[in-house]
């Protein structure tokens, strides 16, 4: 039974790190900074949470500490990405031709 739990945990761990790999790939290939923030932050949040879940399945005694790390990441990761996106928007910078919609400038009059 513990062997089966180990196997499931390892599979979940591989799935999580595959999401991390896709996030790194998106970070390299996306055209401008706003797309890179999306690709980098969303995939790494899911990837890290899946990896922590996989390790918790393999080592059930560590579950509490892993849950603490996961909850902390779940709070801080969207926050840091939002602050970064606002800073990138206000500091100007080049945006690619595919980035057309700018709701922050439309709704709040926030100049890029």
């Amino acid at each position: 039974m513990t062997g089966l739990l180990d196997l499931i945990g390892a599979l979940v761990l591989v799935a999580g790190t595959a999401f991390l790999l896709l996030g790194g790939l998106g970070l390299v290939r996306m055209p401008d900074v706003f797309n890179r923030i999306q690709a980098g932050t969303k995939t790494t949040t899911l990837g890290t949470l899946l990896s922590l879940l996989g390790v918790a399945l393999m080592q059930p005694a560590w579950s509490l500490k892993l849950l603490l790390i996961g909850v902390f990441l779940l709070f801080t990761n969207p926050l840091s990405s939002q602050v970064l996106a606002r800073a990138a928007h206000r500091s100007g910078g080049d945006r690619s031709p595919v980035t057309r919609v700018d709701r922050l400038a439309e709704d709040c009059g926030d100049k890029p």
Partner: protein, 87 residues
């Protein structure tokens, strides 16, 4: 089988680290570099947890928690600096 899968997970995390490092070195603007730094630290947290799993030492989880806290603070501080300058 389980050992092989954990090794594959380590290779994937290492490749993600290298790809984020490419963006960190190339990044045309400072915001690109900060995004890459954010991703680098999150991948590092997964790496530390993997190291704890392979080594069988639960003490590394505390290291991962403190690292998550400090990297979050670092990203917030650099983003505030980009937004307003030194004020």
């Amino acid at each position: 089988m389980v050992d092989l899968l954990v090794s594959v997970a380590g290779v994937f995390a290492g490749l993600a680290f290298l790809l984020a490092l490419v963006r960190f070195l190339k990044g045309p603007t400072a915001a690109d570099r900060v995004v890459a730094f954010d991703v680098l630290t999150i991948v590092s947290i997964t790496g530390i947890v993997l190291l704890a799993l392979v080594g069988g030492r639960a003490i590394y989880l505390d290291v991962a928690l403190v690292y998550a806290l400090l990297s979050f603070l670092g990203v917030i501080v650099v983003a505030r600096y980009l937004e307003r300058g030194l004020r």
